[in-house]
């Protein structure tokens, strides 16, 4: 039973409560950095790291953190891990850190982290929280991957920097700002459609 619950906590973030497509939180970074697949995955992994570490630490100290000042404490913990990611990327993958720009420090104010920490990690055991963070992070990363795949393919005609579409056929619109909104809007519509169809099927049974 417990095992099932843990599995549910993990899968929850990937599809059912996907932070981007279903809950619509943490959108800023997901649209801004997804002009190519490398940046998209980089951002996803950076975010997942901060999410896992913050949920782990906060869940570990959930009994010690006083109720009244919990939010400032959460912010400090999240900001500390964000700074760690910032410094690591700056040192080892400077190109990625340049490409992500201001959106790297903005992980601090990403509503996904604050939301999960407040509603999940501060109430659940360490292992469950880590699994939840893994699921949410994975849910975030795969959506980023899909958006950036579409935008990079249509916008610059490449995949991981390898040219697949001749330059004359690319649509610059998709790598500019409006393209992000469009691709994301269509992706939301698609998810909603699929989940509705699935619900109908479930009813029929």
């Amino acid at each position: 039973m417990a095992k099932n619950n843990r599995f549910a906590a993990f899968v929850n973030g990937i599809v059912k409560e996907n932070p981007l497509l279903v809950l619509s939180i943490g959108l800023c970074s997901s649209l801004a950095v997804t002009t190519n697949v490398f940046n998209g995955i980089g951002m996803g992994l950076a975010m997942t790291f901060v999410l896992i570490m913050s949920e782990m630490i906060i869940s570990l100290f959930r009994r010690q953190i006083p109720e009244d000042i919990r939010l400032p404490i959460f912010i400090i913990i999240i900001a500390a891990f964000t700074t760690i990611v910032q410094l690591l990327l700056n040192a080892y993958i400077p190109s990625l850190s340049d490409a992500l720009g201001v959106f790297l420090p903005l992980i601090v104010v990403n509503c996904i982290i604050m939301g999960r920490v407040e509603s999940y990690a501060s109430k659940n055991k360490v292992l469950d929280s880590v699994l939840d963070a893994f699921g949410m992070g994975l849910g975030y990363t795969w959506v980023l991957f899909v958006i950036s795949l579409v935008r990079e393919f249509l916008g610059s005609g490449t995949f991981f920097g390898i040219r697949v579409l001749p330059e004359a056929y690319t649509i610059a619109f998709f790598s500019r700002a409006p393209g992000g909104f469009f691709v994301f809007g269509l992706l939301t519509a698609l998810t909603l459609g699929i989940s509705k169809a699935a619900a109908k099927k479930g009813d029929a049974k």
Partner: protein, 192 residues
């Protein structure tokens, strides 16, 4: 003078904070269901963005730089913003209760509005001086207010018209935002 005007227009229209830079999408999608709410949120945020820039900029150059602690900027800035928002809330509650009841609910949300932290960090990374930073902050804030108001106006029209079935719900909002963003791209020739 000209230089300030161009920073202001650039940050407000050409690099609009929501539609071009993709900051603060959460309130842009979440709070624009009616015009009153959207304007309230916009004005409160405008105020906080300018105030936050006015405070964090001197703090960075007079405290963090001499101590060689620039790498702590994210941590320090977010704490300053959170504290600032709290202070403003207390002050308004005590001295201008009318304004507090209109704006108070939004203030708490602004701490995690990425436009605020983003603007303060951008001022540092763009190497602006103090006046330029304030103008940039004011421009960004006006851009946010503009985007919120326009979006809420459009949404009121959407709510009384028929939306294609597969786009109903959140999807139509993003398509609308995309169209708005496309029209804001047209400003890009405004400033050389």
């Amino acid at each position: 003078m000209n230089q300030y005007l161009s920073i202001f227009l650039k940050s407000m229209l050409v690099d609009n904070v929501v539609l071009i830079q993709y900051l603060a999408i959460c309130p842009f999608i979440g709070m624009t269901s009616d015009t009153g709410k959207a304007t309230g949120m916009g004005i409160a945020t405008t105020f906080v963005i300018i105030l936050a820039t006015a405070v964090t900029y001197p703090l960075f150059y007079s405290v963090l730089v001499p101590l060689k602690l620039q790498f702590l900027e994210t941590l320090v800035f977010i704490l300053v913003i959170a504290a600032l928002v709290q202070l403003v809330e207390f002050y308004l509650k005590k001295s201008i209760p009318g304004l507090y009841s209109a704006m108070g609910v939004y203030l708490a949300l602004i701490t995690t509005n990425c436009a605020v932290l983003g603007t303060t960090l951008n001022c540092i990374s763009k190497n602006y001086n103090y006046v330029q930073s304030l103008v940039y902050a004011a421009g960004t804030a006006c851009g946010f207010l503009l985007a919120m108001t326009v979006m809420s106006g459009v949404r009121e029209r959407i709510s009384s018209s028929t939306v294609p079935k597969f786009l109903q719900g959140k999807a139509i909002l993003f398509i609308t935002a995309g169209l708005l963003s496309l029209s804001f791209l047209g400003f890009s020739g405004l400033i050389k």
